[in-house]
C-alpha cells in the first residue's frame, strides 16, 4: 500500500507546489504603474475641468457674460479626458473574457480568500460602476451648464432689450416733456437692472413694484402709455428669466462631479495601493515560497546526494560482493575442474596401480623360484663337482706315464664304493628340472615385460590399425592375477578387420571392463570374450560375466561419472564413464545388458575408422597422454 501511496503523494505535492507558484506569480504580476499613474492624471484633469466649469459658470454669471464660448472648449477637454479615462479603465480592468485575466482573477480570488479580504472582486464592479456614475454625472454637469448657458442667454437678451427699450422710452418721454415720468421710468429701470441680479425667488416684490410703478405712471399719450405697459411687462418677464438663471446656476454649482471625480480617484488610488499591497504580499510570499523551495531543493539535494552516496556505497559493496562471488565461483569451478582432472587421473592411476600390482605379483613369483633355482643349481653343481672329484683324479692318473696302477686301483675302488650313481642321476635330473623351470620362469617374465610394453604402447604411434583380439589377449595377460584364481575365461573370437584407433585407449577400455567383470564375479565365474563384425560393418567386442549384475534402477546411471557401488576409497566411479568417453572419441558405442544376480554383458562396437571422424580429438588426446 505504501508503495502505491508514496508516488501519489509525491505527485500531489509537486502539483500543489506548482499551483501555489502559479497563483503567486499571477498575483504578483498584477500591477501596471504607468497606466495607474496616467489614469490618475486623467481623473485629476476631469476633476479640474469640472471645477473649472463650475467656476466659469459662477464667474460668467457674476460678470453677466456669456459662458457658452468658454464652455464649449471645456466641454471638448472634458470629453477627451473622459475618453482617456474610459480607455485606461478598459486596460486597467482587463477583458473579462481573456483566459489570462480569468486565471488571474481566480488566482486573486483564491489569494484574497486566503488573505482574508473580499475586496478586489467587488472593486472591479464597483470601479466600473463608479466610472459609469462619474460619466453620467459629467454628462449631467455638461447638460446643466448648457441649460444655464441657454437660460443666461435668454435672461441677458431680456435685460439688454429692457435696457434698450427703457432708454428709448425715457428718451421719448423727455422729448415729449414728461420729465417726471421719464425720471420714474429711468430710475425704475435702473433699479430693476440693479436688483434683478440679486433677485431671489422669495423676494421678487421690489422688481414687481418697479414694474407696477412704471405701469401706473400717468400718461396722457396713449401711445406712450402702451410703451410704458410694454416696459413693465418686460420687467415682469425678466424676473422669471433671472430666477431660471439662478436656478440653473445653483444646479451647476451644486453638481457633485468634482467631488465624485475626487472620490473615484481616491478609490482608484486606494485600489491601486491595495493591489500594490497584495502584490507586495504575494511577492513576499513568493520570496518565502521560493526560499522554502530552495530549502526543499537543498534538502532534497542533500538527500539525493546522501542516497546517491549510499547507493554508491551499496553499489560498490554489491560490486565487491559480485566480485567475491565470482571469485568464489571461479575458485570452486577451478577446484571442481582440478578435482575432476585429479579423479580421472586417480582412476587412471588406480587401474594402472592395479595393473602394476598384478604384473608385479606375476613377475615376483617366477623371480622367487628363478632366484631359488639358481642358487640350488649352484649348490647342486658344487655337490656334483665334489662327487666327481674322484673321477677327475682318476682321469688325471690315467693320463700319467707310466700308469700308477696302485693309485688307479685305489681310485677305482673309491669310485665303486663312494660314488652313488643314483644320487648323481638325481642331482643331474634336479639341475635339469631346475634350469628348465628357471628358463620357463624367465620366459614368463620376458613375456610379461613385453606385453607390458605392448600394452602401454609408449613406443608406438598414438593412432594405428589395431586388431582388437590382440588387445584382448594382452589385457588378459595383464589381468591374469585377477582372473586366474577361479575365473574361467572363454574366448569366442571371430575374425575381425583391424580398426583405426588409439590402441592404448582401447586397451584401457578392455582393462576397465575386464577388471569390472572380475570384481563383479568376486573371483569365481566365467568371463566370456567375443569378437565379430555386426550387420553395420562395425567391429564388436562382447565382455560377458556371470557376476552380480546391475540392478535395473541403476542401469542408466552406471555410465555417469562418480557413480559407484564400491565403498568409499575403493573406486572412483569413473571406470565406465571413461570407457564411454573413449568410445565417443572413436565414434563407437557402448551397450549394457544386465540381469541382477545373473551377470552383465557389455558390447562395444567400433566403426572401422571412427577415429578419423573424430580426429579433432587427437590434439587433446596427445596432450593428455603426454600429461599421463
Amino acid at each position: 500500500m505504501r508503495a502505491i501511496q508514496k508516488p501519489l503523494a509525491n505527485a500531489f505535492a509537486v502539483v500543489m507546489a506548482l499551483f501555489i507558484l502559479g497563483v503567486l506569480l499571477l498575483v504578483s504580476s498584477g500591477t501596471n504603474d504607468g497606466l495607474q499613474r496616467s489614469l490618475d492624471r486623467h481623473l485629476i484633469t476631469l476633476r479640474e475641468i469640472g471645477a473649472a466649469m463650475q467656476s466659469e459658470v459662477v464667474t460668467a454669471d457674476g460678470l453677466e457674460i456669456d459662458v457658452s464660448e468658454r464652455f464649449s472648449a471645456l466641454s471638448l477637454e472634458f470629453g477627451a479626458a473622459q475618453r482617456g479615462v474610459e480607455l485606461h479603465l478598459q486596460t486597467l480592468l482587463p477583458d473579462q473574457k481573456s483566459v489570462a485575466s480569468h486565471a488571474r482573477r481566480l488566482a486573486l480570488g483564491l489569494f484574497n480568500s486566503i488573505d482574508g479580504s473580499g475586496r478586489e472582486q467587488a472593486s472591479e464592479a464597483l470601479l466600473r460602476a463608479r466610472f459609469d456614475d462619474l460619466q453620467s454625472q459629467g454628462l449631467t454637469l455638461i447638460g446643466e451648464v448648457e441649460e444655464f448657458s441657454a437660460s443666461q442667454r435668454e435672461y441677458l437678451g431680456g435685460r439688454d432689450a429692457l435696457r434698450a427699450n427703457g432708454r428709448e422710452v425715457v428718451g421719448l418721454l423727455r422729448q415729449r416733456g414728461y420729465e417726471a415720468a421719464a425720471d420714474v421710468v429711468f430710475a425704475g429701470i435702473q433699479q430693476v437692472l440693479e436688483r434683478v441680479r440679486r433677485i431671489r425667488s422669495d423676494d421678487t416684490a421690489p422688481v414687481e413694484n418697479v414694474a407696477r410703478r412704471i405701469r401706473r405712471v400717468s400718461m396722457p399719450s396713449e401711445r406712450m402709455r402702451s410703451r410704458l405697459v410694454g416696459l413693465s411687462i418686460e420687467i415682469a418677464a425678466l424676473i422669471p428669466a433671472r430666477l431660471d438663471v439662478n436656478a440653473r446656476l445653483q444646479r451647476v454649482i451644486s453638481s457633485e462631479f468634482v467631488g465624485s471625480a475626487e472620490k473615484v480617484r481616491e478609490f482608484v488610488t486606494n485600489d491601486y495601493l491595495f493591489a500594490l499591497k497584495i502584490v507586495g504580499d504575494a511577492r513576499v510570499l513568493l520570496n518565502v515560497y521560493t526560499f522554502l523551495m530552495l530549502l526543499n531543493l537543498v534538502y532534497f539535494g542533500i538527500r539525493l546526494k546522501r542516497s546517491h552516496s549510499v547507493l554508491n556505497r551499496s553499489h560498490g559493496l554489491l560490486e565487491e560482493r559480485v566480485q567475491e562471488r565470482t571469485h568464489e565461483l571461479e575458485t570452486a569451478y577451478n577446484d571442481l575442474k582440478e578435482s575432476q582432472v585429479q579423479l580421472v587421473q586417480a582412476e587412471k592411476m588406480s587401474s594402472l596401480g592395479q595393473l602394476v600390482a598384478g604384473v608385479v605379483h606375476e613377475i615376483n613369483t617366477p623371480l622367487l623360484y628363478v632366484l631359488n633355482n639358481t642358487q640350488m643349481t649352484h649348490e647342486a653343481l658344487a655337490e656334483l663337482e665334489r662327487s666327481l672329484g674322484v673321477v677327475k683324479d682318476l682321469a688325471n692318473c690315467l693320463k700319467q706315464e707310466p700308469l700308477p696302477k696302485d693309485d688307479v686301483k685305489k681310485l677305482l675302488e673309491q669310485i665303486r664304493t663312494t660314488l652313488d650313481m643314483d644320487a648323481l642321476d638325481e642331482g643331474i635330473e634336479e639341475i635339469l628340472a631346475l634350469t628348465t623351470d628357471s628358463t620357463d620362469g624367465l620366459n614368463d617374465i620376458d613375456a610379461l615385460v613385453k606385453s607390458l610394453k605392448d600394452f602401454s604402447r609408449l613406443d608406438r604411434a598414438t593412432y594405428d590399425r589395431f586388431d582388437v583380439r590382440d588387445g584382448l589377449e594382452k589385457t588378459l595377460l595383464m589381468t591374469r592375477n585377477l582372473l586366474k584364481y577361479g575365473i574361467e575365461v572363454v574366448k569366442e573370437f571371430d575374425d575381425v578387420p583391424e580398426i583405426l584407433c588409439a590402441p592404448s585407449r582401447v586397451n584401457q577400455v578392455f582393462i576397465n571392463l575386464i577388471t569390472n567383470s572380475a570384481q563383479a564375479m568376486d573371483g569365481h565365474g566365467t568371463l566370456t570374450l567375443t569378437t565379430g563384425v555386426d550387420e553395420k560393418g562395425f567391429v564388436f567386442i562382447g565382455v560377458g560375466d556371470t557376476g552380480c549384475g546391475i540392478p535395473e534402477a541403476q542401469l542408466d546411471k552406471v555410465q555417469d561419472p562418480f557413480f559407484t557401488t564400491k565403498p568409499v576409497g575403493e573406486g572412483t566411479g569413473l571406470g565406465l564413464s571413461i570407457v564411454r568417453k573413449i568410445m565417443d572419441e572413436h565414434g563407437g558405442c557402448l551397450h549394457i545388458d544386465s540381469e541382477e544376480g545373473a551377470g552383465t554383458r557389455i558390447t562395444l562396437s567400433f566403426p572401422l575408422d571412427g577415429v578419423a571422424q573424430a580426429s579433432e580429438i587427437q590434439d587433446e588426446d596427445d596432450s593428455e597422454s603426454e600429461a599421463a
Partner: protein
C-alpha cells in the same frame, strides 16, 4: 616334544607348481617337504601328517593363504605359520596378524638365505635347536644374559610388592614356600599414545578389567614397564612409527613375554610387515577401535602373556632378529631389569604350577 632325530615336516602351499618344485629342491635334504597346490590340498596334507612349519602363498584360487593359516592355527596350533607372498595387500597383512598370527610375513621374491633362515628358526621353535643343521643358528633366546645382583634384588622386591608376598623376604631362588600364582587381573596394561580419543575408547572398552597406564613417550613407557607388572603393551603407531617399530623389536628381544598390540588409523603395508617380523605384534587395531573386539583382543593378549610366562618354551615361537639400527639401545639396562623381572615371575609361576 617329538624325537629330535626326525626331520621336521615342512609344508609349502602355492598355486604355482614351479615354486613348489623349487622349494622341494631347496629343502628336501633338511626337512620332510610336503607340497600343496592349493589351500584344500594343504588341509589334506594336514590330515595325513603332523605339520611343523607351513609356508603359504597368499593369493591362490579357492582359499587365500590367511584363510589356510587360520585353519592351521585353530587345528594345528603348534605348526609355525609363515606367509610368503608377492602381493603386499594391506588387508591381507592385517588379517595375517589378527587371524593368522603368523611367525613371519615374507614377500616374494625373497632371498634364498632369508627363506632358509626363517624356516630354520620356525623349525627350531617347534623342535628345539637342530644340532645337525648345517646352517648356523643366528638368534639365541635372549634371557641368557648375565644379570647383576642388585638388579635381581630390585626385581624380586617389585615382584613381592606386586604379588603381595613382601612379608616373605626369603631369597627367591631358594624359596620353597608356596607362591601366589599370577592371575589375569594382576596383569597391567601400558598404552603408549597421545590420541585422547583412543585412550578414552580403550579405557571404556576394557571395563576396568585391568589397570591401564597411559603414557605419551617412550622414556615414560620404559619407566612404567620397570615399575609395574605390565603384560600387554598397546601402542599407537602415530606417536612415532620408527620408534614404535624399534621399541617393539627391543621389547620382543628382551622381554618376549610382553605381548604387543598396535593401533593405527591407517595400515602401511611395509610398517606392518616390519611389526610382524621384527616385533611379533599380536594384534593390529584399526582406529577408530570397536569396543567389543578390542576387549576380546586385549583379553586374549593377556592370556597370551600368561601363557608365555607359564610356558617359556613357547617364547621361541616369537623370536625376532635384533635390528641393527636400533636407537633404543640406551635403554638396555632398564630392559634387562624388566626382562629379569619376567624371568623371576616365570620362575614363581612355574613353582606355583608345580605346587
Amino acid at each position: 616334544m617329538r624325537d629330535a632325530d626326525t626331520k621336521a615336516n615342512v609344508l609349502f602351499v602355492d598355486d604355482e607348481p614351479r615354486v613348489l618344485n623349487s622349494m622341494r629342491a631347496m629343502f628336501r635334504r633338511q626337512y620332510n617337504v610336503s607340497l600343496a597346490n592349493s589351500g584344500l590340498e594343504a588341509l589334506e596334507a594336514l590330515e595325513r601328517e603332523t605339520i611343523d612349519v607351513i609356508v603359504s602363498d597368499q593369493r591362490m584360487p579357492g582359499m587365500t593363504g590367511v584363510e589356510v593359516l587360520k585353519v592351521f592355527k585353530d587345528i594345528a596350533p603348534n605348526a609355525m605359520r609363515i606367509l610368503l607372498t608377492g602381493y603386499a595387500d594391506q588387508d591381507a597383512i592385517a588379517a595375517s596378524i589378527n587371524e593368522g598370527e603368523v611367525f613371519r610375513y615374507l614377500t616374494k621374491p625373497c632371498s634364498p638365505d632369508l627363506l632358509k633362515q626363517t624356516i630354520a628358526l620356525a623349525v627350531e621353535a617347534v623342535k628345539g635347536p637342530q644340532v645337525e643343521a648345517n646352517e648356523p643358528v643366528v638368534v639365541v633366546a635372549p634371557p641368557a644374559r648375565a644379570m647383576p645382583q642388585d638388579l635381581i634384588g630390585s626385581a624380586d622386591a617389585m615382584l613381592d610388592e606386586v604379588l603381595g608376598t613382601a612379608d616373605e623376604p626369603a631369597p627367591a631362588v631358594a624359596s620353597s614356600a608356596p607362591q601366589t600364582s599370577l592371575e589375569s587381573k594382576d596383569v597391567e596394561l601400558l598404552l603408549l599414545s597421545s590420541d585422547l580419543e583412543l585412550i578414552a575408547a580403550l579405557d571404556k572398552a576394557l571395563e576396568q578389567a585391568h589397570v591401564l597406564h597411559a603414557v605419551e613417550g617412550i622414556d615414560e613407557a620404559i619407566q612404567v614397564l620397570e615399575r609395574h607388572p605390565i603384560g600387554v603393551l598397546i601402542t599407537d603407531i602415530a606417536i612415532n612409527a620408527d620408534e614404535v617399530q624399534q621399541l617393539t623389536n627391543q621389547l620382543k628381544q628382551h622381554v618376549p613375554e610382553l605381548v604387543t598390540i598396535v593401533a593405527s588409523d591407517h595400515s602401511d603395508a611395509h610398517r606392518l610387515i616390519d611389526l610382524i617380523n621384527g616385533g611379533q605384534v599380536f594384534r593390529f587395531l584399526l582406529k577408530p577401535i570397536k569396543a567389543k573386539q578390542t576387549f576380546i583382543w586385549v583379553e586374549s593378549a593377556v592370556g597370551k602373556h600368561l601363557e608365555l610366562v607359564r610356558n617359556p618354551d613357547l617364547l621361541a615361537r616369537h623370536v625376532v632378529a635384533e635390528r641393527e639400527d636400533s636407537s633404543l639401545r640406551k635403554f638396555g639396562d632398564q630392559l634387562v631389569g624388566i626382562a629379569l623381572r619376567m624371568v623371576r615371575l616365570r620362575g614363581r609361576s612355574a613353582q606355583a604350577n608345580q605346587a
